[in-house]
Amino acid sequence: MRKALLAAAALLVAFAPSARAQAPAVPRQGIVCTNGTTFDLTATPGYIETPDGNSVLMWSYALAGGEFQSPGPVLCVNEGDSVTVHLHNDLTEPVSIVFPGQTGVGGSGSSGLLAKEAPAGGDATYTFTASQPGTYVYESGTDPEKQVEMGLYGALIVRPAGHPDYAYDAATRFDPQREYLVLLSDIDPDLHHAVETGAPYHFDQLRNRYFAINGRQFPDTLQDNGVSWLPAQPYGSLIRVKPYNATGNPLPALIRMANVGTVNHPFHPHGNHIKEVAQDGRPLRTPGGGDASSEHFAETIGSGQTQDYLFSWTDQDSWNPGSNPFPASVASPDYRNLTFKDGNTWSSGSAYLGSKGTLPVGTVSQNICGEWYFPWHSHALNEFTNYDAGFGGMATLLRVDPPGGCTAVAGTASILAGTLNSGTATALAAADTAYYKVNSTVSGTRTADWYGGFTGVPRGSTGLAVTYTGRNSIAALPTTLWIWKWSTSTWVQMGAATGVGTSDVTSTRTPPSPQSDYIGTGANAGKVRVRVLTTGTTTNFVTQGNLLKLTYDAP
């Protein structure tokens, strides 16, 4: 039975008896930090769902008062913090936590083989100083052959003092909007079933059937953090970047990888190479302090290791349909002679980033606006499955978004004041020789007032920006751009007026927050309207729209 359809993270605020650890502000994608210096964890059982419809008993560390989650919460602290972790044990056998990479771990609890333990129903406490930044794991130190396999693990992030945008130091600076955790684990459901039913289990017989990233198996890995239908698996792992650009997008993404599984996992990123900059929370350096990082198109991460990678995606040839097209014989294949697997594709149908082609009728596209999708997966391909079905398991996708985000052009044009002179909305698709022309009103202060309609803008899009290029038949008339606010059914002006004369002028405007106000819902789902208002004098004029474009970052 599924638990309450609420993300564990959301419940934390309401029920945590002690809010010493800060509930994460959950981004849709990327790492979800539970910030603090004191953490209350409870070792507790719960169930995860696998994409093949199975439900598996796991043991995990949950935030006290919060919902069960697998893996345990991502604990984020700062370099130099004195960290305290209280462990309460709701399981029926002793458990503990070890913190590989931390030295001088103190605390209290009953004596155990590898660490102080919390007896069944009891407690233990661990204290340490997070002396050095890095990516670490925490996991059970009690009967680890069983308990780690059962799911008692999580990630610990120590951020450099004063530099949350460094993994370690200036050489490992990354884009804080593009920080990802890739926590690898594996599950033998026979063990979990034996624990659930009290049946015997021989660890020599271990045979992993499920392979996870951040506790989910592909394709669940692609879903946003905290989606309601995966209540016990709050962490997604879709990796998103935009192409590297020395001025516009110079910083790499940071991929914090950790292997809490029982076996080593060879991980293969498609698209571009990844650069390993650290292992086990220590940067890779020459003896003189220089760079000893290395690039890989596949790298085996050992059981228990962490590795940090910087990642940028670059098209070395800058292929584009305008100035540097692919050879004509390969750029536009006839898709009718090809297949899109299962009739459902992430393909844009185009050879170019940011473009969409026409897919065969009946093919369902998951592509928003010409972005790329590349699988990142274990190349031990028996792990690239959900028990027996391929393209599952230890896999996620890299999504490369177009450099300028998604672009939409006005598909309709409607006149609020004035009359149509000539042209259709089609003329607004590109800054070219085709214009959409509107005659001004013909009495009083003349105005030409019209708007373009956009469709297909996904809910949750951000970074909306409007670009308008146009001119008028007479010199220098003030022109303002507006956007329709669906919730109040009013136009919202974007910025000050621009003087537009007889040659093309381009204006770019961004609407005030929250941007969700401007994307229609319900019957108007995905619709955005942008209005162009030109205010004249007592002389008739013609407004000539050349380009009306909307850019946005798709969710």
Binding site: T103, P144, A292, G302
Partner: protein
């Protein structure tokens, strides 16, 4: 001829060796013999192991061990290793990374002997081993080549240590060892995961001196599995792999020692803590020991 620098000591926590002598001729006589190994349970497994020969290369009455004796020579020594084979099957000896003067290795026929002669030209931690089915039976051991400076793993002062310990990793499937000539390797399934031939709780402790002092861990993976070893409560600085010093030593808490590979890692005992677990992170829990500090 210096007769031997062979240490019979298998236990971890070797004491600091005496100041090395200058290059010399070293002659080592090994017996390859059948024996048994007692494992927790107790279970008695058949083994083939190496043992130091008696005088005149006699194998009479020797007791083979798993792993075999630790062979310790000095850089520059001319080393002759004779294998006296008392088994009814040939036994090979090879040392990846060393040319034994006869190409890949030597092979002593059943009931016969063979000798490998080589110059120990580079310091480091080497694995000597048989081949194929001889390996799971227990025919392997450690060969340490010591640099001129005592108390260092390699030529660089950054490899200086106060204590050293061998961690020879391997596994045993008693069912295979009962019939090595004919057993089906496809169904090879080890039941015991060993450090220096022992399964926890029988493993030997590694003894550190005091906070701030350094323990050199010489990992040798004599098993078949690529083994990830975890250290808790401290870092190990990885100095060398396969007896080749790394250009860029790095700090780690979990390292995969590939099958047949060796790794030298230096642990500086932290200020806090007296007991630091070293264990197989792939959760073969009997491959476990501790670095202990008084």
């Amino acid at each position: 001829m210096r007769r031997t620098m062979v240490l019979i000591l298998i236990a971890v926590g070797l004491t600091l060796p005496a100041s090395p002598a200058s290059a010399a001729d070293v002659s080592i006589d090994l017996c390859a013999s059948a024996g048994t190994l007692t494992l927790p349970g107790p279970v008695t497994a058949n083994i083939w192991g190496f043992a130091l020969a008696g005088s005149g290369g006699s194998c009479a009455g020797v007791t083979p061990s798993v792993p075999g004796p630790v062979l310790s020579v000095d850089q520059g020594d001319t080393v002759s290793i004779a294998v006296h084979n008392t088994l009814t099957t040939p036994v090979s000896l090879e040392v990846p990374g060393l040319s034994l003067g006869q190409g890949a290795g030597i092979s002593a026929p059943a009931g016969g002997a063979a000798t490998a002669t080589f110059t120990a030209s580079a310091p480091g931690t080497y694995l000597y081993q048989g081949t194929e089915r001889q390996v799971p039976m227990g025919l392997y051991g450690a060969l340490i080549v010591r640099p001129p400076t005592a108390g260092q793993a390699y030529g660089s002062a950054t490899t200086a240590y106060d204590r050293e310990a061998l961690l020879v990793l391997s596994a045993i499937d008693p069912a295979f060892n009962a019939s090595p000539a004919t057993a089906d390797l496809y169904h090879y399934a080890p039941k015991f995961w060993l450090i220096n031939g022992k399964a926890y709780p029988d493993t030997d402790l590694v003894h550190g001196v005091a906070p701030g002092t350094k323990v050199l861990l010489r990992y040798l993976n004599a098993g078949f599995d690529n083994t990830s070893m975890r250290l808790l409560g401290a870092y190990e600085r990885v100095l060398a792999r396969d007896a080749h010093p790394l250009a860029n030593p790095f700090d780690a808490t979990a390292e995969t020692i590939p099958a047949g590979g060796t790794e030298d890692a230096l642990v500086t005992i932290p200020a806090t803590g007296t007991r630091f677990p070293v264990y197989n992170r792939q959760l073969h829990k009997t491959m476990l020991t501790f670095i202990e500090v008084p």
